[in-house]
């Protein structure tokens, strides 16, 4: 493992073998990174609710910037481009990889294992780590990479957040790892692709970048899981996810985040949905010390639909701050967001969701709901649904709830013989059920159930 630093010298080192344009892109991002101050969580509106529970006293509301975070402490690594596939792929992977069309495993920013099925090769699907892709698919990357979805400057309404995001700039400058998935026109991949991203060593920085391009009429399912291999190695994840669902494409993207409780997690996820395309997007969060996630679906083409499902379970002193956006650019588009969070111990969460409807986007149908279940007195959830509607023919509904576990429900269940712990688990599972029942993959539902059960142990 090579330990680098977030410095211009190290940036030059990473970019040394990369095309000129990428080198310039990194340097540009670095300039932005340097020009921006660390977000000040009392002054910056977007960061106002972000709290590092380990170093801050939320209730006193004083000095609430990211006090505990020292970015310099974390080390990005130098990609060992195309390293030999190794079978020692870290803990917690199902083996053999049942029912997948392709697998990619990355540990501490290094590609450890990659396998494509015959199906992928035959159909011309490109699936490789991003460094390999930079050599093999430079045009695609030049066209898409941090150019259209997660960008440092954008005209998108949901992009206002990114403009202020020091972490997007850090990612743009030092990204390493991640992958490109390109599904050609009309190709339908039957089995899901699986990506496992692991952090193992202490003080590691993971700057993985996901780039999914599904061309017109294609269909694909991607299951991505981020996890730590140890319970206590501290780390920094600074990621980006860019999804392009082409015209009439059908894309399902699932990301499950199970970092340990000592990992800072900053990420920007944006999906661009073209005409008549359908996106099913599942985002599940269990881990992390402090999570700051921006997630936006941009409904660019007429007639497209996006379903955004969120499921999170936070405990101890975890903090989760999610901003979601459903950005309706074109008419006859529909989006449906359901985010459910369970909080335990002293966990704190903030969810801010926006539906934007552009003046041209008549016949928009947008739905947005955030519900929080608090299992302890000391947990706290902020929820802020928002609408910005500029079209006339629009159907929008939104809502938010936060409530303690219901004493009558617990009593009802216990009066039939189940213990408090069992009653609590039943109620939690029941609370997540509306999200679960919409997840189209049995294996994902099972994995999520296991993670939920572990949180309740």
């Amino acid at each position: 493992m090579q330990n680098g630093h977030f410095s211009k010298e190290f940036l030059q080192k990473i970019a040394a073998t990369e095309p000129q344009w990428m080198r310039e892109k990194r340097l540009e991002a670095y300039k932005v990174y340097e020009s921006l101050p660390m977000p000040h969580t009392t002054e910056d509106d977007v960061w106002r609710r972000t709290v590092d529970m380990r170093t801050q006293d939320y209730w006193r509301r004083t000095r609430r910037y990211l006090r505990g975070l020292e970015v310099e402490k974390y080390h990005p690594s130098l990609p060992t481009n195309g390293g030999s596939p190794s079978e020692t792929v870290g803990a917690g992977l199902p083996s053999p990889y049942a029912e997948t069309a392709g697998v990619l495993v990355q540990v501490d920013g290094q590609r450890q294992h990659a396998s494509d099925s015959e199906e992928l090769k035959k159909k011309g699907v490109y699936f490789a780590d991003l460094h390999t892709a930079l050599q093999e698919q430079p045009e695609l990357l030049r066209d898409y990479f941090m150019n259209k979805a997660v960008t440092l400057e954008t005209g998108l309404k949901s992009g206002n957040i990114a403009q202020h995001n020091k972490f997007d700039a850090l990612h743009g400058a030092f990204w390493q790892g991640g992958y490109l998935l390109h599904v050609p026109k009309g190709v339908s991949v039957e089995m899901p692709l699986r990506v496992y991203t692991r952090m193992s060593e202490a003080d590691q920085a993971d700057l993985s970048h996901t780039l999914i391009i599904a061309e017109e009429g294609s269909q694909v399912v991607v299951l991505e899981e981020n996890a730590s291999t140890t319970p206590d190695a501290s780390g920094l994840h600074n990621g980006a996810v860019e999804i392009f669902a082409g015209q009439n494409a059908n894309v399902t993207y699932v990301q499950v985040q199970r970092w340990n409780r000592y990992v800072w997690n900053f990420a920007s996820h944006r999906a661009m949905v073209a005409r008549d395309a359908h996106l099913c997007w599942v985002s599940a969060t269990f881990g992390g010390r402090l999570n700051k996630l921006n997630q936006a679906a941009v409904l660019e083409g007429a007639g497209c639909t996006a379903q955004m499902l969120g499921l999170a379970f936070t405990d101890a002193r975890q903090h989760l701050d999610v901003s979601t956006a459903q950005e309706h650019v074109s008419p006859h588009t529909s989006s449906d967001l359901l985010y459910r969070t369970v909080l335990k111990d002293r966990a704190q969460t903030a969810w801010g969701g926006n539906i934007y409807v552009y003046p041209e986007a008549n016949y928009t149908d947008a739905y947005q709901k955030n519900d929080n279940l608090l299992l302890s007195e000391r947990a706290h959830a902020d929820t802020l649904p928002g609408l910005e509607i500029q079209a006339h023919e629009v159907r929008c509904t939104h809502g938010a709830t936060a409530g303690k576990i219901d004493a009558d429900q617990v009593f009802y269940l216990m009066s039939r013989g189940v213990s408090y712990a069992q009653a609590e688990k039943l109620i939690v599972d029941g609370f997540f059920e509306p999200v679960m029942e919409r997840i189209p993959l049995e294996s994902v539902r099972e994995e999520l159930s296991t993670s939920i059960a572990r949180k309740l142990e």
Binding site: D406, A407, D408, Q409, F411, Y412, L413, M414, S415, R416, G417, V418, S419, Y420, Q422, L426, I427, D429, G430, F431, F432, E433, P434
Partner: protein, 266 residues
């Protein structure tokens, strides 16, 4: 050992307000008791207090069930001893299917102490399913019931039948039915009444709480008690229920000098 329920000088209050005021009652296995009283007299308070709802504070007195003072026990421990309460207003639990929940509950109630050897202590799925299907058939409950979320979107009648189904599966020693007939039409009362009477036998003691005698046409109690203002004012046989049917609660209220509750039923 016989599993009797013995209540001695019980006082229960809700949010600081005394509701049950020194009540005595005993129900033996195999006996059927009716506890009748107007709205607001404290029937549900007694039922919830006996089952251990944390909102209902036990101020004094004792409740002995099969030789154990249950007042210190959590609700689930009482259930495991063989106590059951069919709620007047069953709580909806969205997302939790009746079958999933009931399998956990039945497993917990049937588990013998020190017999935690098998996997997670659950009764085998096949065995459970078979038994559930059989009980649902006996009670004339539709098969789809098992997959529905507990009381969520259930009609009044469905809720009460789900309670009786749970009663049938859990096989308690003493069952308290809190107004299992209220809010139901005549047909629904008949179905519930017939369902309960199928379960009655020497192993089951029943305390039927009601303010109308309709359910008692199907389940004839040997003992009838009248609850007024937190106390049993009269106990007798079937003739007491007939008297209430004919005259209502006014003569009794007058006799004991108790005014009609202002706030009524909760």
């Amino acid at each position: 050992m016989s599993k009797d329920l013995v209540i001695n000088d019980l006082h229960i209050s809700v949010q600081g307000k005394p509701i049950i005021k020194g009540l005595n009652l005993s129900v033996k296995q195999g006996e059927i008791h009716a506890l009748m009283g107007p709205n607001g007299s404290g029937k549900s308070t007694l039922a919830n207090g006996l089952m251990g709802h944390p909102l209902y504070e036990i101020d004094s007195g004792e409740v002995i069930f099969s030789g154990v003072d249950v007042l210190e026990l959590e609700a689930n421990e009482r259930a495991k001893l063989g106590l059951f309460l069919a709620f007047q207003y069953p709580t909806a639990i969205p997302g939790v299917t009746l079958a999933n929940f009931l399998r956990l509950a039945v497993s917990a109630v049937r588990a013998k102490e020190g017999n935690g050897s098998d996997n997670d202590g659950l009764i085998p799925m096949r065995e459970f399913r078979g038994e559930l299907r059989e009980k649902m058939r006996q009670l004339g409950v539709d098969d789809s019931f098992a997959r529905r979320y507990l009381n969520d979107g259930f009609s009044g009648g469905e809720k009460k039948r789900a309670e009786i189904l749970q009663l049938a599966m859990l096989e308690p020693k003493i069952a308290i039915l809190d107004e299992t007939d209220s809010g139901l039409d005549i047909d629904a009362v008949r179905i519930v009444g017939e369902s309960v009477s199928q379960l009655i036998g020497p192993e089951l003691g029943v305390l039927i709480i009601t303010h109308y005698p309709r359910l008692l046409d199907y389940i004839r109690p040997q003992f009838v008690h009248i609850l007024l203002d937190g106390n049993i004012v009269e106990s007798g046989g079937w003739e007491l229920a007939q008297m209430l049917e004919a005259e209502g609660y006014d003569p009794i209220r007058e006799k004991y000098g108790i005014k009609e509750e202002q706030n009524g039923e909760v």
